[in-house]
Subunit: 227 residues, 2 copies
Amino acid sequence: MISLEKICRSFTVGDEKVHALRDIDLRVSDGEYISIMGPSGSGKSTLLNMIGLLDRPDSGTYRIGDEDVTLLSDRRQAEVRCHRIGFIFQFFHLVSRMTASENIELPMILAGMEPKQRRGKVEEAVEAFGLADRASHRPDQLSGGQRQRVAIARATVMQPEILLADEPTGNLDSTSGMDVINILERLNGDGITLIMVTHDHSLGRRATRQLTMVDGRIERDTVPSLS
Amino acid sequence: MISLEKICRSFTVGDEKVHALRDIDLRVSDGEYISIMGPSGSGKSTLLNMIGLLDRPDSGTYRIGDEDVTLLSDRRQAEVRCHRIGFIFQFFHLVSRMTASENIELPMILAGMEPKQRRGKVEEAVEAFGLADRASHRPDQLSGGQRQRVAIARATVMQPEILLADEPTGNLDSTSGMDVINILERLNGDGITLIMVTHDHSLGRRATRQLTMVDGRIERDTVPSLS
Ligand SMILES: Nc1ncnc2c1ncn2[C@@H]1O[C@H](COP(=O)(O)OP(=O)(O)OP(=O)(O)O)[C@@H](O)[C@H]1O
Ligand SMILES: Nc1ncnc2c1ncn2[C@@H]1O[C@H](COP(=O)(O)OP(=O)(O)OP(=O)(O)O)[C@@H](O)[C@H]1O
Ligand SMILES: [Mg+2]
Ligand SMILES: [Mg+2]
């Protein structure tokens, strides 16, 4: 159970203040499948970063379970991120000096997993995302969509409790995109909470609960009856 | 008139060779509107980089008009790029220490345009792409879609002869995306040659000529009769 109450976040540029998140109230039950859509600049990535503990709100509370994570130290927040949250970034943030395999393996190394177990999981992920013949390429030796798939593999390889996906199919053809969505939905079927930001309406409509953001607020929050 | 003949390009990774472009033959008439689609990793960005003189083929010839540009020096190629080609990169490549306005202005400074004339064009572009209240933000202070629009504004502001767009709407909601497509198609209507890589079939279908790449080759090259 994730709970955001009266979350506000603004950025200062020169003497101007950008209100990226305005009084966000949001409750997410374990295992929900939520899509977030809305115009460019409406605050979707900022909201996802907040949920992913990559950013702190200016005001408001954010609880995971009954723990107020806004009160945690940076170090404690990093632990929660490492063990409970998987994040697929809009612009991937891969480690440029590491290969695709090494990038995918990184969360497991950070979590202290055994080398043998890690290797098995990396091979599984590389297969699942069609990266078998690109596994030893570094990001600059990969196409845009290949990098995106590495980012997705990295975020999902440890089957985190909460999976946050920011435009996961933006650089993928429809076939690769559907392969990705099928994997994400299968993980959700296994109980993982899936929150996906997307500009693709055909994808957003697949979620059991659909949010629309406009100008820093959640303007719509619907559970379509025919899904 | 752009003409590629038997263009080949491969990359070496370790002792493995990736054949990114295999015997590409392509003729493009002035003012054509071409879309390039195909699976992730099929060579679309590599082909566009080749046409944009950002990369050289391993073999084959590439002519713009009757000039064999593969024979030009790096410096001469840079001049052609600067004056004749506009490029919208799949991952933008904005200058991180410059504001949105400064990024858009850069090609005009490089082309030696007068400050007064530049300013007018920047303001026009900022308006056209809905960036008026983000003009003095730097890229890290912009959303993904806002960065994409800056990249598009920069590439189009000098109305180049040839406009190359790699996934120009990948990070945009449908409204912003259509605004962009309308601007690109209007430029094409003014005579600019437009070559667009896209994963969005609804966009690809709007082009008067549609190419499909698979595994380094052009597998289809069609002019739909009902367009
Ligand atoms: N610098 C490089 N070194 C090694 N291999 C590369 C390099 N650049 C691209 N490749 C490989 O060449 C192939 C074509 O890459 P390209 O970026 O052109 O694909 P693409 O069609 O644009 O894909 P996407 O739709 O995912 O953006 C890919 O399989 C990629 O792994
Ligand atoms: N570090 C920052 N400094 C200043 N303004 C920022 C910063 N990050 C984001 N913004 C602004 O906050 C607003 C929300 O940004 P955000 O990245 O959350 O939008 P988004 O909904 O993800 O957009 P897109 O669909 O284009 O990715 C935007 O108007 C953006 O300009
Ligand atoms: Mg975003
Ligand atoms: Mg590409």
